[in-house]
């Protein structure tokens, strides 16, 4: 009975699990080849889960599933629910992008949508994790789903290579992460975040072990968000994975890892000397990620790969927020949440446009800048949408991308991290070059010859996905206040819990 009550506090997770399981069972009856029904069914599940997540924003923070005398593994608070809402919205758009891609790539398979739902469950568990083990469990649930999704086009060499690389590197990084948790447990005797915070105040014996543990934990997270120098897998994997999944990975996995990191830093390691030791380390990673990500994005000729590196650099901007947070600047928590929200819409939108433009047979060729020549005139609405996403990614008003950067940078200035802000601005300036290049090839490059047009029939799902993404980017840019206020409230719930 007690567990039943607890389940009502995490209804989003319950709904998603139920939807996914029913999907798998319905698959037995093989209803239709293109599985549009499965997409629609997942959308309903995601929408219902989103509803419960938003509803959970107002509820009191609850510590769930705690054994007698033990700390709670799951904490359902406003922060977790808000993060869940962002991830659910991201997954919703990713699912909307999928039918068109599946039709073009002929890779329809039954598990596709169920795997997305399971991954989201993992992400939400990460966001609500009350201890490091639960965090790890969520991370693995999420990762396994994404590994499989990456290689779901089994007959495609690039996809298989990507899946294998991702799995190997992921397993490798997970080893470090687990080792980090073990070290932390060894130093403090606990993995529960509130308990850790208490342990940290008292002088901890064996500080080097704790520091090593922290570093290894951060390395594991850095791998998941593709921060430099742990990013090497990302371009290969992003390029090989089905485009909607690339988008889903780029936003969902990143958001989950960052949200979990914010919770760990804000609850577990706030204001302790040992955690202060690792701040320079996060800073260095942030510097490297911004600079290397942007520089490498410039030299790419494949738009999908360019977006992969751009997503690396965006992890760098979000890391600035984490540094500010670790320095005790509380506004940074809401800033990171805002940034991730804006990033979700603009990145998924960009990948959505890619889904539309990729040709069936073209392979990697159809993703080159040159292949987009004149697309802005052939598909005017699409051109406008892509321009909005690129402008947003470059961080220009009136888009969410601008305010995301603004909030991050201003919290970093408050925390006294001028160097990082400078690097962030420099990176943004560089990024304008490659983002605008997309717009240039859309509008200002002469079409070499009128060759075969990409499939002109646009699925309703894709159109809806692009509309949602565009609306999200612009809404966040025009009415940023509501969302940042929500983020602040959510962050406050974190500190109460």
């Amino acid at each position: 009975m007690q567990y039943l009550n607890a389940l009502t506090a995490i209804l989003p997770v319950v709904v998603l699990l139920g939807t996914a399981v029913i999907l798998l069972m319905l698959e037995v009856f093989s209803l239709g080849k293109d599985r549009i029904w499965a997409a629609n069914f997942s959308l309903v599940g995601l929408a219902v889960a989103f509803y419960f997540a938003m509803k959970g924003l107002g509820a009191e923070p609850q510590a769930l599933f705690a054994g007698p005398g033990k700390s709670a593994p799951i904490i359902a608070d406003a922060f977790g629910n808000l993060a869940a809402a962002v991830m659910l919205a991201g997954a919703f758009v990713a699912v909307l992008l999928s039918p068109e891609y599946i039709k073009n790539a002929r890779c329809s398979s039954g598990e596709y949508y169920a795997l997305i739902l399971f991954s989201v469950v993992g992400m939400i568990v990460m966001a609500m994790a009350g201890d490091l083990i639960t965090f790890f469990l969520g991370l693995e649930v999420m990762s396994i789903g994404v590994y499989v999704l990456t290689g779901i086009r089994r007959n495609d060499l690039r996809a298989s290579e990507a899946a294998l690389k991702y799995l190997l590197m992921g397993a490798f990084a997970t080893g470090f992460l687990l080792m980090g948790i073990a070290f932390i447990y060894g130093a403090t005797g606990t993995v529960a975040l509130p308990e850790l915070a208490r342990q940290m105040v008292a002088p901890v014996g064996g500080a080097p072990i704790l520091v090593t543990g922290l570093v290894l934990l951060l390395v594991g997270v850095a791998f998941k968000v593709a921060a430099v120098p742990f990013h090497l897998w990302a371009p290969d994997v992003y390029e090989g994975a089905p485009t909607p999944i690339t988008g889903f990975m780029a936003v969902g996995v990143k958001a989950a890892a960052f949200v979990a990191l914010v919770r760990i830093v804000a609850v577990g390691f706030a204001n302790s000397e040992e955690s202060a030791v690792v701040i320079p380390f996060i800073s260095v990673i942030a510097y490297l990620t911004i600079i290397v990500g942007n520089l490498l994005a410039i030299v790419q000729r494949n738009v999908k790969r360019m977006l992969a590196y751009s997503s690396v650099s965006h992890a760098g901007y979000a890391l600035i927020g984490v540094v500010a947070l670790a320095r005790g600047e509380e506004s940074a928590g809401a800033a990171v949440l805002f940034y991730l929200t804006a990033y979700t819409f603009m990145t998924l939108g960009a990948f959505g446009v890619l889904v539309f433009l990729e040709r069936k047979e073209g392979g990697a060729e159809s993703e080159r800048f040159g292949a987009f020549a004149g697309m802005g005139y052939r598909h005017p609405a699409l051109g406008v949408a892509m321009s909005v996403f690129m402008v947003a990614l470059a961080g220009m008003p009136p888009t969410g991308g601008f305010f995301g950067k603004l909030y991050i940078f201003s919290s970093a200035i408050n925390a006294g991290e001028m160097g990082l802000v400078f690097a962030g601005i420099l990176g943004s300036i560089i990024s304008v070059y490659y983002y605008l290049r997309v717009i240039v090839s859309f509008y200002m490059v002469d079409v070499p010859d009128a060759g075969p047009l990409p499939t002109a029939t646009r699925s309703r799902h894709l159109t809806a996905g692009l509309i949602i993404a565009t609306a999200g980017v612009l809404t966040l840019g025009i009415f940023p206040n509501q969302w940042i206020e929500l983020g602040k409230l959510a962050f406050k719930s974190l500190q109460l819990g």
Binding site: P208, L216, P229, W233, P235, F281, V299
Partner: protein, 648 residues
Amino acid sequence: MIKFSSLAYIPLLPLIGAFVLGLWGKKMERSSATIVALSTVLGSFAITVIATYTMVKNNGTPLQAVLWEWIYVGRYRVDLALGFDQLTAALMLVVTGVGFLIHVYSTGYMEEDPSYWRFFCYLNLFVAAMSMLVLGQSLPVLFIGWEGVGLASYLLIGFWYSDTEKADAGRKAFITNRIGDFGFLIGTFIVLGLFGTMDFTQLRQAVAAVGPTDAMLTTGIFAGFSVKAVVTAACIAFFIGVTGKSAQIPLYVWLPDAMAGPTPVSALIHAATMVTAGVYLMCRLGFLFTIAPDALVVVAVVGGLTAVFAATIGVAQNDIKKVLAYSTVSQLGYMVLAVGVGAYTAAFFHLITHAFFKACLFLGSGAIIHALHGEQDIRRMGGLRKHIPITHATFLVSTLALAGIVPLSGFFSKDLVLAFASERSASLGILGSVGAFLTAFYMSRLYFMTFFGELRHPDPHMKDHLHKPGLSMEIPLIILAALAVVGGALNLPHVFTHTDGFLDRFLGPVLGTKVLSMTATAEYFFMAKSVGIAVAGIVLGYVLYGRGVPTKAAESFVESGPVHGVLYNKWFVDELYQNTIIRFTRFLGSLAAMVIDPWIIDGILVKLSSGLVSGSGRLLRKPQTGNVQSYAAVFVLAVAIITGWAVW
């Protein structure tokens, strides 16, 4: 302050009109375009009347409407707020009232223009911007309107843009005004730096709290200067803005060229309203100018010189609109002069009466040009009083008003300005009197050459197919002429009524009151002198031009010869600017184009930096081999370095 949110509709209605006309005007019926254009301005006028009534009923408490929070940066706050006090009311009634009359007139004047809708779109845009300027509760909001009217003016001067000369006139107006706007901005920043606010109400309080103005500032960015010095600098900067917008020396050069626009535009924008924005600004900031007496001296001298200088040029012009344009510059000089001697109410009084009679004169000249199928040269006119009697009558009344004949409106306002000027300093008074004489002379020259004698148009049949003005053009003329007659009642002199004039009492709370110190006898004498000067000018005009053609004496002194050469060519000021400032700017431009752009921007900044960036990008690509083993190796190496660094 009373909240009165309907204020927002005063600029909003014409803005909506401009929006609708701009987007759908081309497809609209002419009649529906007319309805949109006229109804929005009439609506603004109605709201202005209601607002004025509300304010007066509440004992003159200003009204306010805050539309939204606009700029909140650090300790600086600017709301998009509109305010409505007596000064606003006076000017807004003129802007929307006269503006509406001119809209009505334009329906007749622009009847046959293919871009009818575009004209009214711009005209509505102008009324919206001008309302914003007058209603703005702070300098930045005022500046929105200030720039907006500049834009509308530019668009309307170059309305017939396919004619290069007209398009160039538009650009000249815009660029000249940009120079002034720069001064406005500098002034704004100085004020912000000194007082920390740009809101008029707060500024007024801050200025009142300043204390001794000679004391040195010890803190802030102006440490080491006295308040007086800083405020003087700000006022001079604002005055540079005023010389642009209100066409004073040295930036007046755009206004005569601006006559390239359709005549209703010249009447509304370049005579009655927009060009008075500078005078309005100085009245609005009167509390600031008052503590900067040195700046006021500059203002007074520039105003007085402009009044005479422009009048001399007006004497030798042959284009009917050019004469009126220089007359406008000269009359604006009087308003500026009045501000310079601290007589804000007198300045505003002249602003209002001038709006009546000058709008009437311009619209009359429009009717004449319309009648003669586009002819603007007064040497080809003559004898028109028989053919277009209503235009003639209204033109005559307004000419007399402008010349300052008692008891027309222009007499009262100009006399007040001159009286204050000569009280301040005898030489300013003499400047003003010379200007008044010239005004009477060039206006009578214009009047006689246009309406007397026989029609001298090269087309002998012109007399038979004159384009008679319709009702839509005549009614505004009559209303404006009537206002030009009775406008003086707004502020009758103290000696007549033994009480303060209406405007004095009405504007007192905003502008303060200033009364003449001369005795009643002296004042009567002064008035007689003013009228005498005006009559002398008119008589001279009649002697030289009374038969509609220049007499021999006029032919040899005014219409030719060295004096004529200098005046006709406007003292060669345009040539002077061309050979100094413009040439220097061109030199800078070519320097940038030939040296700075290709070598420094393209070479060092672009090529070098892009080379650096893409070079380092290529270098960083090296570890990206696609080989999982090497990825893992990099990973381990990085972890080792970081852990080592963190622990030791």
